[in-house]
Each structure stands twice: as C-alpha cells, then as structure tokens.
C-alpha cells in the first residue's frame, strides 16, 4: 500500500521528464544533425548522433554561401530599432494620457487600443504598398516602420505612470522642470522593471518575425536571420546537413541568451496575462 502510494506520487515527475524529453528532442536532433555528413542522411536507418563532432564542413558551407554574420547584424538592428522606437512612442503617448487633459482624450485612448484588434498579418498587403511607395523596400526603416505602434506597451506604461502622483508632476512643472526631463529623470527610473519587461517582449517578437521582413527584402545583404536561413533551402531540397547547420547557428546563440536571462524572459512573457 505504501509502496504504491509512493509510486503514485512519483508518477507526475516521471511524466514530466518524459514530456520534457519529447519537447526537447527536436532541438537536440537539430543540433546533432549539424555535424552529420550527407552520407549519414542518405543511409538507413537514420542515426541520432553524428559519426564525428569534428565535421565542420556544413558550418563552413553555410558561412561561405550566406553572409550569416550580416544576417545577424540585420536582425539585431531591426529588432533593436523597432523595439526602441516603439518604447519611445509608447512612453510619450502614455505620458500624454496620464498627465495631460486634451480634447478627445478618451476617444484617442480607445483609438490606440483599437490598434491591438487588427492583427498585423492581415495588414501586410496594404502596408507593403505603402512602404514600397515610400521607397523603403530593402531598408532597415522599411523593415521596422510597421511595428512602431505598440498599444499594449502604451497601456502597460500608462498603468505604471498612474502610480506616480499628479502633484509630483505639477510641482516639477512649477519648479521649471521640462517635460522631457520629468520623463527621463523622474518617471522612467521608477518604471525600470516594466520597461525591461516590455522591451524584452517586443525584442523577442521582432527577432522572430518572418512574413514582413520576407516581403520587404529582396537583397540578400538586407535579410534577417530568420529569412536568410530559409533561403538556403527550397521545398524539395534535400541538403539536410546544411539546413541543420544553419539552424544550429541561429538556435544556439538565442538559447544561450535565454538560459542566461531565463528569469527575465519568463517573466516578460507571462506578464502579458496581467491584464486578465
């Protein structure tokens, strides 16, 4: 009786380990495959581990065929630029809504929230026409410009700013403190955790975007990592070892960053549910 009880208590943990193995398997398989030779992929039965971890030909091929570092740089620039601009716009808008009263205050607030209701994927066609009309195809600005509006960031920041008393703002203004100085030396330092969370959220989303950068980039040197690696293959291609070497190069750094920032990232993602 006691033994079966103990077994029952261990059962969830066993299931967890098993599920973790299933979930992590594709990642592990992908990482291993980067070291295999084309022969290893064409022989049957398929193997899990490569014959030798010293086979770096695939990586050499990937770095020869694609400007991988350039892709990385592009992704970094695009994700940083769009997240930064988005944060600035959101901070200013939230500041306006919390500390100022103006005609249409409530209307504009709801209008901003309405932008959340329109998924960006359904807007890509008209946005593509706009961006190409502005001559922004194949530019960093063109890749970022459609994601400058972040209403959820604006909303979270508004909630945060509402915790600082209006009297503080009034007093600062009376003492001759400018708006920008108030924002950057009074408001934002107290909002640091929220800012980090929102920035991380936005950065992760931008880093992973696929459809938009695919549409607005034609030149190879302007592609982001996500788009660039998929250009190594076509639907019918069988260059598996190259594909996996490319994914190795893209997966590993983000996984390492994730493991370092584990707490912050987990928090950033789950705090989206704060509202409900």
């Amino acid at each position: 009786m006691k033994n079966s009880n103990r077994l029952l208590r261990l059962l969830p943990d066993l299931v967890l380990v098993l599920m973790a193995a299933v979930v992590l398997f594709p990642v592990f398989y992908g990482l291993m495959g980067a070291f295999k030779t084309p022969q290893e992929f064409s022989s049957y039965p398929p193997t899990l581990f490569p014959e030798s971890f010293r086979n770096l030909d695939n990586f050499r091929y990937v770095f020869d065929m694609t400007p991988m570092l350039r892709y990385y740089l592009n992704s970094l620039i695009v994700a940083t630029l769009s997240s930064t601009v988005r944060m600035f716009l959101a901070v200013f808008a939230a500041y306006a809504f919390v500390f100022y009263r103006f005609p249409g205050h409530r209307f504009f607030f709801l209008l901003m929230l309405t932008t959340m209701m329109l998924p960006p994927d359904v807007l890509v066609i008209a946005n593509y026409q706009t961006v190409s009309g502005m001559g922004l195809l194949d530019t960093y600005l063109g890749m970022c410009i459609v994601s400058f509006v972040g209403a959820s960031q604006m909303f979270m920041l508004r909630q945060q700013f509402m915790t600082s008393p209006v009297a503080l703002h009034d007093a600062a203004m009376l003492d001759g403190c400018g708006d920008f100085r108030f924002i950057f030396s009074v408001l934002l330092p107290t909002a640091r955790p929220v800012l980090i969370t929102l920035f991380l959220q936005s950065f992760l989303a931008q880093w992973n975007t696929y459809l938009w950068p695919l549409l607005v980039t034609n030149r190879n040197s302007m592609r982001t990592v996500q788009v660039g690696i998929t250009m190594l293959t076509t639907i019918d291609a069988t260059n598996y070892e190259v594909i996996l070497a490319a994914t190795f190069v893209t997966m590993l750094p983000t996984m390492v960053v994730y493991l370092i920032l584990r707490k912050a990232v987990s928090h950033a993602m789950s705090s989206g549910a704060l509202i409900s």
């Binding site: 943990d13 066609i125 998929t230 409900s276």
Partner: protein, 322 residues
C-alpha cells in the same frame, strides 16, 4: 507576432471589463487630475501623443481601410483602384476551391491545435506547480522552445519529418510521408504549431497556478478531497481568466498560421496546407491580385473577431474573476 496577438486579446479582455473596472479607474484618475491641470497643457498632451498616433494612422488604420476599399473595388496589378466591384470578389472567392480548402485547413488548425496545446500545457504546469529544484529544471525545459525561432524549428522539423532521412518515422515505426502527402501534410504542420505553442501557454498557466494561495488546496486536502477534485473545484475556477486568455490567444494564433507553411510546404501538396493568411499572401504577392487578397484578409479578420467574441459570450458568467 505572439506579442501582437497578445495585444489583440488584451483588447477584448479590456472590453469585457470595461464597464466594471475601466470606467471607474478612468473617471477616478482623471477627475482628480482635471482640477490641477492648466488649460495650455492640452496642446502639449496632443504633441506627446502625436508620434504614436501618426504611425497608427499610417500603418494600422489606413491599411485596414485600404483592405476594406480594395475588397469591393476593381484593382489593377499595380494596386491602383480602377472601378467598383461590389461583392463580386467575395462571391468569386466563395466559389473557389482554394478558398474552401483554406477555410477548412484553418478551422482544422484551430480545432486541433487549441484544445491539444491547452490541455497539454495545463497538465504540465499543474505537475510543475510546486517550487523545487527539479521543477525549476523542468520549467526551463518547457520554456526553452520560446528561445527557438519559428524559422529554425520549422527547418528542423523539415528534416525530422522526412519519411526516410528523418528520425520520427524510424523511432515510431510509422510509415507516413508527412509533409509530402496531401492527407498527412496538415498533421505535420499541426505537430510544429503545437510544439511552438507549448512554452508560452506553459509559462502563463504556471504563473497563474502559483498565484493561487496554497492554503486553499491544503485545507481541501486535509478535508480529504482528491487531487482531481481540488483541481476541478478550486484551481480550475481560479484559473479561468488565464484559461480564457490563453484559449483566445491560441485561437487567434492558429487562425493566423502562415510561417511553417511558407517555409515548408508552400500551401501544398494539392492545397492541403493552404491557410487563410497563406492564401492571402499567395493571391496578393504571387498573383498580384490585390482585391482578392484584400477580401481574404477581411475574412480572416472577421474570423478572428467572431471567434473572440464567441468565446467571450459563451464564457460569460463561467469565468471567475477574483
């Protein structure tokens, strides 16, 4: 993408609670403030709002309006409007096989993906709910997929799902052609999308479960309630706001599925993996048929809207807010 979808549902959560909470906060905070603020500030307020408003108008409202207009107009291949078409494009679209298979595939994605991911991640989070070093390792493992981009994991699955070179058929002993067979291609896509959804849901459920005071479950356990009963009668009701939120985000995400399809199947074989957004992309960019693409995007938008509203109305009264 995830984050934008997050925003979408957040908006609905807001709408739902609008009457109870929102107006209250709004009037309380602004009523108190109004007295202090001098009149000249109204200009400054608008100035600070202006940058965000401008971008919202150009890249959110204008394209939406554009899609609405284009869907009922005759549009040439350069995207210029040359005439009025009424609902002809919609009528034409409804008669097309591409459209009905896109609709069916998108609904299949929602119908399978959402329940499977939600139940699976809820179960995993429930088993991980107590804090311990072991659970912390498991937590890292289940949240790890978040750090892997859609493009990378799609490419890994391209190899893994290969009938002969891949490992999946070999270890499971199955003989399925996955992405190259029109009967199974959608299941391959489902496996990928389910995998991608695990981390996000797991983290949300876990943080919600851990926010529930432990004494509730403990006292119920002392009274002799079984774990299942504690879960169904105490934890699940307290979890319902998060559950609703997760179901909504997953639903919209499933409706918007396009990445793995763009990379792996190109909507094929024989249209078996064409989804709404993929159809929009291929009619808009490959065939330059802007008005048809606009129709598809409007329908996709209406689908997300209907699903979310439906969820909120059916859940009304059953969701327990603390």
């Amino acid at each position: 993408m995830e984050e934008e979808i997050l925003g979408f549902t957040m908006f609905f959560c807001l709408l739902k609670k609008f009457q109870e909470v929102f107006l209250l906060i709004y009037y309380k905070s602004n009523g108190a403030r109004q007295r202090h603020l001098p009149g000249q500030n109204s200009v400054k307020g608008i100035l600070f709002l202006l940058p965000m408003l401008t971008f919202a108008v150009i890249f959110v409202f204008y394209p939406f309006g554009q899609a609405l207009v284009q869907s009922v107009s005759v549009v040439n291949f350069r995207g210029e409007i040359t005439g009025f078409a009424g609902l002809d494009h919609f009528r034409y679209l409804f008669g097309r096989k591409e459209f009905s298979s896109a609709l069916r595939n998108t609904l299949l994605l929602c119908g399978v993906n959402v329940p499977v991911t939600v139940v699976l991640t809820l179960l995993l989070a429930w088993m991980c709910r107590q804090k311990s070093p072991f659970h912390s390792i498991m937590e890292t493992a289940f949240a790890l997929p978040m750090s892997v981009s859609m493009a990378s994991i799609s490419l890994v699955f391209k190899v893994l799902l290969n009938p002969t070179a891949g490992y999946l058929n070999y270890i499971t002993g199955l003989d399925i052609r996955w992405l190259t067979d029109r009967r199974t291609a959608m299941y391959g896509i489902l496996i990928i999308t389910i995998w991608m959804g695990i981390a996000f849901n797991f983290l949300l459920f876990l943080s919600a479960l851990r926010a529930i005071p432990g004494e509730l479950a403990e006292s119920a356990a002392l009274e002799g309630a079984s774990s299942l009963r504690i879960f169904m009668q105490i934890q699940l009701p307290l979890l319902s706001p998060t559950l609703l939120y997760v179901v909504c985000t997953n639903m919209i995400q499933a409706l918007m599925t396009n990445g793995p399809i763009l990379i792996l199947t190109g909507g094929g074989p024989a249209r078996s993996t064409t989804t709404m957004i993929y159809l929009m992309y291929s009619t808009g960019f490959s065939s330059s048929n802007y008005s048809l693409a606009a129709c598809v995007s409007i329908i996709a938008f209406l689908m997300t809207l209907t699903f979310t509203l439906l969820l909120f109305t059916t859940e009304k009264g059953r969701v327990h807010y603390q």
